[in-house]
């Protein structure tokens, strides 16, 4: 129930973000400082999420060589191709390969 409520709140909030200017504030503009800050939401949150997923609550990092290799190659492929499909394939392939070797 808690999970469903959490998802519903995120859904409602997302709809409000998408609808706010179209329904209610058509003649308003987003203030410039907010526009600038919005650009940095994705990189800051994604980086924070990755760290949060890889550390436990005492701040210990729980990854080994295969994970690090997969992140490096996955990151490089993402940078070159700008494509999620290639990133996923390359990252998982390297992860399995290195894990089999070490």
């Amino acid at each position: 129930m808690v999970d469903l409520a959490a998802i519903a709140v995120v859904g409602l909030g997302t709809y409000i973000f998408r609808a706010l200017f179209i329904i209610a504030l058509a003649r308003k503009r987003i203030p410039e400082p907010v526009l600038v800050a919005l650009q940095f939401v994705a990189p800051a949150v994604m980086a924070a999420l990755i760290v949060a997923l890889l550390t436990d609550s005492e701040g210990n990092v729980a990854i080994g060589v295969p994970e690090v290799a997969a992140f490096l190659v996955g990151g490089a492929v993402a940078y070159r191709t700008k494509n999620h499909v290639w990133t996923l394939f390359a990252g998982m392939a390297v992860y399995w390969l290195v894990r089999a070797l070490v």
Partner: protein, 227 residues
């Protein structure tokens, strides 16, 4: 009527190449739902309640990893805050649309629908609406199916493949693909560093602190860039 139909067909055709990268993304979300241990139907319903891959993946993985519910919800909302920009950019075009479409249209205003429709502001209103709805409905339908498929695949794949490692890989992809200027690198590095330092905050709320400081750092770096 035939004009409408050809516009609708164009919307579907234009949407299809953009759907392809979303397919593995949807499969990974299905996997994340299985891994998180939440009720599968509840997890899947995020596909139509939220209808946005990055926020779905965020809230599902965080709920499954013992983060406080309020922190999971706020982080996912922050992830989707970029949709405010889409709403503001399309608002003038939507002013010539009927009320029902101003309420329905935003529901499917995902990155790809924005990319396809924001380049057609001069379109005649009925044609714009038809195209928008056709593209939106295409993404919506395929997304529901792909996430469900991910739920079915998850338990079938042998556990020693560690397929759930695709989740952080996908986050790395989302991070790197979005970086097109150095202040974003600053935002990411500071966000990661502060989250790491704040890892022992209660209920893993260090994530929100890290994200907030990262956004601030990016904003400051941007000021230097224009120095």
């Amino acid at each position: 009527m035939s004009v409408d139909r050809s516009v609708a067909r164009q919307g579907v055709i234009d949407a299809l190449p953009l759907v392809v990268p979303a397919i593995p993304f949807g499969l990974v979300i299905g996997l994340a739902i299985t891994t998180s241990g939440m009720n599968q139907l509840v997890g899947w319903s995020s596909s139509w309640l939220i209808f946005g891959g990055a926020a779905q993946l965020t809230v599902i993985t965080l709920l499954g990893s013992g983060v406080a519910v309020a922190a999971a919800v706020s982080t996912a909302l922050v992830v989707n805050a970029r949709h405010l920009m889409y709403s503001a950019a399309l608002a003038p075009t939507f002013q010539s649309q009927p009320r029902w479409f101003r309420w329905l249209g935003p529901y499917v205003l995902i990155d790809q629908v924005f990319a396809l429709t924001s380049v057609r502001p001069e379109e005649e209103p009925v044609r714009f609406r038809t195209y928008y709805l056709a593209a939106g409905a295409t993404f919506w339908t395929i997304w529901q199916a792909v996430v469900a498929l991910g739920l079915l695949i998850g338990p079938v794949v042998p556990e020693e493949w560690n397929l759930e490692f695709a989740i952080p890989i996908l986050f790395i992809g989302l991070l790197v693909i979005g970086i097109d200027q150095w202040p974003k690198v600053v935002a990411a590095a500071v966000g990661a560093g502060i989250t790491y330092l704040a890892a022992d905050l209660p209920s893993r709320t260090g994530l929100l602190v890290g994200a907030a400081v990262g956004i601030l750092a990016g904003t400051i770096a941007e000021r230097f860039r224009h120095g």
